[in-house]
Amino acid sequence: MSIWEYANPKKFMQTTGFLLPWVSGLAGLTLAVGLIWGYFFTPDADKFASTVKIIYLHVPAAMMAISAWTMMLVTSLIWLIRRHHVSALAAKAAAPVGLVFTVIGLVTGAIWGQPMWGTWWAWDPRLTAFLILALFYLGYIALWAAVENPDTAADLTSVLAIVGSVFAFLSRYAVLFWNQGLHQGASLSLDKEENVADVYWFPLLVCITGFVLLFVALVLARTRTEIRARRLQALIARERVA
């Protein structure tokens, strides 16, 4: 049995129908643990004072915003190559979630910027690239909304996701070139570098896991909705023909 069996809508509905409650529960639990730990039980940092607590929201959201786009790119490619409907619908389902994560990243960043840099917004390369990513999300969602025929929309948005990824990547490097910024460099990586102390690192890790699980749960739920909506549309159209 191959992984592609899950690309069958019926099989997908069965499997995820079973998985979804577990994933959602786990996501809620992890998030609650991580956020409560971060908010109530971590000390202030020297440079950041109490604002360090924003990191538990900002960093996971920013990471997931990028990961969500990557996931959409992959599912779009799968749709273009193998024509599995579930794949296209999963990309469609993920886009609004990704956009919300992007907005969270932007909003928490802006709120954090006010005390730290004395400004809500600066044209820092990372921030700018992030704003551009938000624009790509908007365009992608708008294109899905504007095209009526679902297969046409899936094809067009997939092409957009691929071309858009290339240009989003280019923009990322272009803005680096254009301005040296205020923003933190990459100081986190999964094998934990020295400049983040354990007190912040563990709750952050829990929060990141929580965001990942939340993303998975939301995408599964929304993909199920999209599949049902698709079937609904087909049935209604068929009623009209008959």
């Binding site: 704003l131 624009l135 504007a146």
Partner: protein, 218 residues
Amino acid sequence: MIALLIRDLRLAIRAGGGFGLGLAFFLLVAVIVPLGVGPEPATLAKIAPGILWVGALLSCLLSLDRIFALDFEDGSLDLLATSPVPMEGAVAVKALAHWLVTGLPLVLAAPVLGVLLNLPVQGYLWLVISLALGTPALSIIGAFGAALTVGLKRGGLLMSLLVLPLYMPTLIFGAEVVKRGAAGMAVGTPLALLAAITAGALALLPFAAAAAIRVNLR
């Protein structure tokens, strides 16, 4: 007339998110200008009032061709002209629909974009007020331009050329209000002039636009 307003709003929303798109374009202008000009906050703060107004103006401009061209192409305009609705009223209603879909969201979203362009804090209120006063003029002047070019296939660029000079006074006074407001100076004079332009345009241009449409139809 109300039927026409409802129809135009419905069409704008169905055609893929009327409200959202004008806004998104406004946002895009606020992003591409710093990308072109460079990121220094001081420079940006200086040009912010002007750029925000230019952005509002352009996102109005881009949606103008919806006002009449679609109705012309599918024949609705012919039918409207032979219907009991007076053409002047139809023009006014269509300009109103355009403003509700384009101008109003801009007014509401402008403060957020002010943040992106480092607009000084005192400027926000005046930005919103000047846009609220000025964008109706943009819509009705635009409707007039659209009426002049309605028979031409994709007259978009030509229309921009006709409309932009007409937009200049509105732009100048609008940006001036924000600039003075941001610098903490008195804004009375430009604000009054802006209001006068809007009132005058609203009172007179529907007639000119209706005449232009009648000429273009025959």
